[in-house]
């Protein structure tokens, strides 16, 4: 096979999933993110914390290729976001698992069908993916609710279903925007550990949350975002090692 010559793809091949260099981004006239420098690697977990309206969700939109940078350079999964075609961005998007703050589902479908959607979009047949999806719903702890219409699930169950859907396509990059909102501290930590487990299969995981204590749940890189500016946060003495 011919060796890849595109330097952006080579970066991705070396395990650098995300590299943001001096990126500004926003909506309409408002610039929300300013001068963002950020890097995420395969097999690592990053936690981005900050107060409400600091820009966490906007950062997530940028990382999930739903928002274009206004300036600077955003390389995500080997794709230069500002210069790539819609098709290339869509292709990269399929390799990203995203857990939204308020996950959107096809409400009259069952949780199982919603979780299987990324696999259906890949062209896999139901009999081929059924076992994998069953494993996933058990992994996130909603096995008993899997066949119910998703509109009948509780918020916590919907969030777990969103995690399962994000993991279904075996993504290279997993993004979770406030995945523990509305959960008890114990449930929240369990969800974060569950997401962090995905680093073991080589995925990069980025979690955005207001809860700084989540850093204790699993080894992870810590970042702090305030008023649209992202900076590395020092790890507390008792925190688990990020490279563990």
């Amino acid at each position: 096979m011919a060796r890849l010559t595109n330097p952006d793809l080579e970066l991705f091949e070396r395990g650098i999933l995300v590299r943001l260099s001096n990126v500004d981004a926003g909506y309409g006239p408002a610039t929300v993110l300013m001068g963002i420098d950020f890097e995420a690697r395969a097999g690592e977990v990053a936690l981005v914390t900050g107060p409400a309206a600091a820009g966490k969700t906007t950062l997530m939109h940028l990382l999930r290729l739903a928002l274009q940078p206004r300036s600077g350079r955003a390389l995500i999964l080997g794709v230069d976001v500002a210069r790539s075609s819609a098709r290339a961005r869509a292709e990269a998007k399929r390799r990203i698992g995203y857990v939204a703050e308020n996950p959107v589902f096809v409400e009259h479908w069952s949780a199982f069908e919603n979780i299987a959607l990324p696999l259906r979009m890949m062209g896999r047949r139901a009999r081929d993916y059924a076992g994998d999806v069953r494993e996933l719903v058990e992994f996130v702890g909603i096995a008993e609710a899997a066949d119910l219409p998703i509109e009948r699930l509780s918020n916590a169950e919907r969030r777990r279903a969103a995690i399962a859907r994000a993991l279904a396509g075996k993504p290279h990059l997993i993004l979770a925007d406030d995945p523990t909102a509305g959960m008890s501290p114990a449930d929240g930590r369990r969800v974060v550990r569950l997401l962090a487990e995905m680093r073991r299969v080589g995925a990069g995981v980025i979690i955005a949350s207001q809860d700084e204590d989540l850093a204790d749940a699993a080894p992870m890189e810590r970042w702090r975002i305030e008023r649209g500016r992202l900076t590395p946060a020092p790890a507390p003495a008792h925190a688990p090692e990020a490279t563990e």
Binding site: R64, A90, V104, V106
Partner: protein, 286 residues
Amino acid sequence: MKNALSGMERALFWTLVFATFAAAAAGLAARAVDRLAVAYETQRGSYAIVQVLAPEDPAAMAAAQAALMQAPHVTAASVMTSERAAQVLRQWGGEPVNPADIPALRLIEIELSPESANTDIAGDLTAWLAQSGITADVVTAPQGAAGGGVSRAVRTAALLGAVAFALVMALIVSLAARGLAARRRELVTVMCDLGATRSQAAGRVADEAAVLGLYAGLTGGVLAGAVAFVVLLLAIPGASVETLAAMILPIDYAPIVAAPLGAAIAAGAGARAAAGYFHGQAARLG
């Protein structure tokens, strides 16, 4: 798919059935008008009247009738009696006419074969009768501006009317299918979030709408066909299921066949356009 025809989808399905029923019925009506016009034209063109001018004796009428029976393109020839003339006058004028009041007309009614349409039948018959020593004038159905060609205008108007009506119905089907796309908006949004391109997301919804349109068009087309069959059965005196079935030509099925195909295309196109728009909205942040 689960709940494929629940609630709004069921309403949409019957909207599409109604639209395709109306379009197919208009097409079938246009076909009926077309066939009536053709039948009228054929009937009109296959009739002529011969006026025997000389000799003036009664034997000349019998000789002329006998000669006409042998003439090319003539399938029947009969001397117009006073009773027949009175009947014709009554048909045209509406007033009862006493046959005894009608003088000897020296007219012979003739029926012509369809092949005669492309010949100078009046000249041919005049020459044919002259060979038997009979001088006659042949009056055929007028052509062109004198009344001929009306059926062609009627046929064109029926065809264009049916096509225009079908296009309006296709527009209605297309707009109704946008409702399905609106109902699938969350699916389009989710697919967009999961990395589906515009064509993938819109294609998924368009396929569903096209299948719905196909089934609705099939239902509407078959219903229109059944209704048309019953109407013809009632409208044509003495018609039976067998005679009516024998009258139907393959081209008469065209509106019924076109209904599902047209509905599928129109529904698919409408849903695709709407779903593409929703995908664009879902993909556009900032």
